[in-house]
Subunit: 226 residues, 2 copies
DNA sequence: GTTGATTGTTACCTTAATGTTATTAATTTT
DNA sequence: AAAATTAATAACATTAAGGTAACAATCAAC
């Protein structure tokens, strides 16, 4: 996810805080939404589904704790990170804040650098929660993120074309992929390559992963067998 | 960090307090060390480097305030959390305690439940702060706050770009970062730099951290290996 | 079994991608 | 402002991925 696609909701009743925090976060490239009280905050949170919510604890009408509790009950906001703004030494609000489902807190007075690095750290944590893009087929594990595979317990790094070819074939074990399909998918339909190109790559895969994983269907194409 | 690896130092001249507090904290799984006066407390603090110190204010020989001041001067105990035990209504000691560098205070009479939840909250805070800004990967420690790293026990100060590049790659060891991703993250998507820029920075990192920590996947990008 | 088409194999070549170094520009520090 | 450090780039070297040609082996049909 790109930075500019990350929404941060800022809830505080003090315009000064909204401005300074908002400014610093916008400057970093985040999309900043603001609200001036707990009620508005909850409303905007439900509407905008931000990735991170920064909530002041002390607010008139509805305080941060209460707002946080409501936010946490909304299934759409389950994975949203909530962090509180508290005055130093306000220990009660910290305990209560964590109880209400907060992930972290930031103490006032706010130092822009600390704030920004904390926000980054929090979002990083958030990002890391999404699962790795991996595909398991029998004893073969294909990790698209790391461009590597694990075959019979051994880790292998494959060159791009080989990796993509394997990736394609293994995406539907048993299915026969016609030569055209393979060219389309791995090479792209504009590129024109010679007639033996696919064969050679298949051969390399056979060398590395074992001969019997790839079956040739003469006149048609290849298939990966589990 | 696991609970059983967390050390709490308890300093109080009253054996009853030591026993009841110590019992409750041990029960929670923490490693508890005790001392019966300020001097012994300071000594054990320096020796054991606990994560949290609970200090009684009123003690013969050396009171908690004085002990706290000494503790705070020790660089190894910079990040240790210090919390005081004070009698209710003893406002003076609270103010003086914060001045001396305390993070919190607990009032007597002690209620075990309150005590335990307070300790948990304090340690959570400690953990968050500690973890948020530093990243450990194998023998490499990256301190994002101070823009420095520790590699194989040696401290290194890296220039910004190198640091951010390393920081990115090491944030997900094994993951291949495509050139686009790297440019996006380290340089920002508006900035346009030449084609060899990333390579040069990778090379510098290889020089400083060892060649084999960075693997090139031709046609794709780079990855950091643990 | 022979034949022709299709695929396998090998070695080699080309080229895109990356590595390297030196130099210049920009930035920070003093 | 000078010095030192860092960043970017240009120019060249190196590497290995990817492609190809040439030939061998295979299979299917007759």
């Amino acid at each position: 996810m790109k930075k500019k696609d990350i929404k941060i909701l800022l809830v505080d009743d003090e315009p000064d805080i909204l401005e300074i925090v908002g400014y610093n976060l916008s400057n970093e490239g985040y999309q900043v939404i603001t609200a001036e009280n707990g009620q508005e905050g909850v409303k905007k949170a439900k509407k905008e589904l931000p990735h991170l919510i920064i909530l002041d604890v002390m607010m008139p009408e509805m305080d941060g704790i209460e707002a946080c509790e409501i936010i946490r009950k909304n299934p759409d906001l389950e994975n949203t990170i909530v962090t509180f703004l508290t005055a130093r030494g306000e220990d009660y609000s910290q305990v209560a804040g964590f109880d209400a489902g907060a992930d972290d807190y930031i103490t006032k007075p706010i130092k822009p650098k600390v704030l920004v690095s904390k926000v980054k750290a929090l979002l990083r944590r958030f990002k890391e929660e999404d699962v790795a893009d991996t595909l398991k087929v029998g004893s073969l594990v294909i990790n698209r993120d790391e461009y590597k595979i694990i075959s019979k317990g051994k880790e292998l790094v494959l060159p791009r074309k080989e990796f993509e070819l394997l990736s394609l074939l293994a995406s539907k074990p048993g299915k026969v992929f016609k030569r055209d399909e393979i060219l389309d998918s791995v090479w792209g339909n504009e590129v024109v390559v010679g007639g033996r190109t696919i064969d050679v790559h298949i051969r390399k895969l056979r060398e590395k992963l074992g001969d019997k994983s790839f079956k040739t269907i003469k006149g048609v194409g290849y298939k990966f067998v589990d």
